[in-house]
Symmetry: C2
Subunit: 198 residues, 2 copies
């Protein structure tokens, strides 16, 4: 039996922090896992930036409420659901993800959670499991699933490498250049084809 | 972070083999995991019975196409999806489950698969993982999820016991009598309450 693991941001929905950067007009929020391979460094940078601008969880959630799935993502998921089971593996936080899941017709998501101060500021975060995407793949393989994974960022690489098969999806040129042997696709049609081959 | 594990048949949809028994008029197909604790013995019995009556996979699938979710199940899932993530853990087979998943709005299902002869007869089955429901719970706990499980049959007991919390749902009196310490509920409202308490 097979199962498909998909990254969330950049694969099914836009990058949340980039959308937040655009709405707030603060370009420093544009930095994502596509640019920075050290996730803890990236999150510390983001929390410091939120504090500096006195931005609360609710400000981020208000932006997320307006985010829609990427063009073609819902058709892609509809096709995928006809033949396959899938899980979304993301390093995002449940406080961000819940409204996005509703828009994606409630797929299963494994992610992390935030720590929120009494004043509603993001004070920290809880990583459910270090390198959680990769460990989810290993757990699924331990349950005797054959696993295919797709993602676009540094934090997807271990997930893809530990899977039975997989590919990059719309990854930035830097990652594709660093990992020239990883299959890489740009459209949902190509991704569906890869999954069907698997 | 929390996750809910639900049995499929008897919890969200009717027992497939009981429906099949009713349509075929062959009462011997009524035997389920609610009556027989040895799953391999039960499946051997079912396959022998299918062969005896020359019934093919397609005959079972034709019955399954007509099965609808239990009354209230879709409202229950809609409420659950607002607040929680869930997985369906079942010992059924993907060849049976796919049309049912569509009717349940495509939740994630972990199950098994059938072996089908060139003539379309059920010739055997492949258990993805022995005691798969329980191992799925252990895998989720290994990923640092807190797990709540609910089911109605003998094959749900290890799943419930290994979870952080859980209950029986509409279990037969025999199981409730054997396991008087396991919490037990009869309605979706009660089940939602248990999940909320968790």
């Amino acid at each position: 039996m097979k199962i498909i693991c998909l990254d969330l941001e950049g694969v099914l929905v836009p990058e949340i922090w980039i959308a937040f950067s655009e709405v707030t007009g603060i370009p420093e929020f544009r930095r994502t896992t596509r640019d920075e391979s050290d996730y803890h460094k990236l999150m510390k940078y983001r929390i410091d930036l939120l504090n500096k601008h006195n931005l609360k969880l609710v400000d981020i959630q208000n932006v997320i409420q307006k985010i829609e799935p990427l063009e073609g993502a819902m058709d892609f998921l509809a096709s995928l659901r006809k033949t396959s089971q899938f899980i979304i593996l993301s390093d995002t936080f449940e406080e961000f993800a819940m409204p996005l899941l509703a828009k994606l017709a409630h797929p299963l998501l494994f992610c992390n959670s935030l720590k929120i101060s009494p004043e509603g500021m993001v004070s920290g975060y809880e990583i459910r499991k270090e390198n959680g995407k990769m460990h989810a793949v290993l757990a699924l393989k331990g349950l005797n699933f054959r696993v295919f994974s797709a993602g676009d960022s540094y934090n997807d690489l271990d997930m893809i490498k530990e899977s039975d098969s997989g590919c990059l999806f719309r990854a930035p040129g830097t990652i594709k250049a660093e990992y020239p042997l990883l299959p890489s696709v740009e459209t949902y049609e190509e991704l569906l084809l890869k999954i069907r081959e698997f």
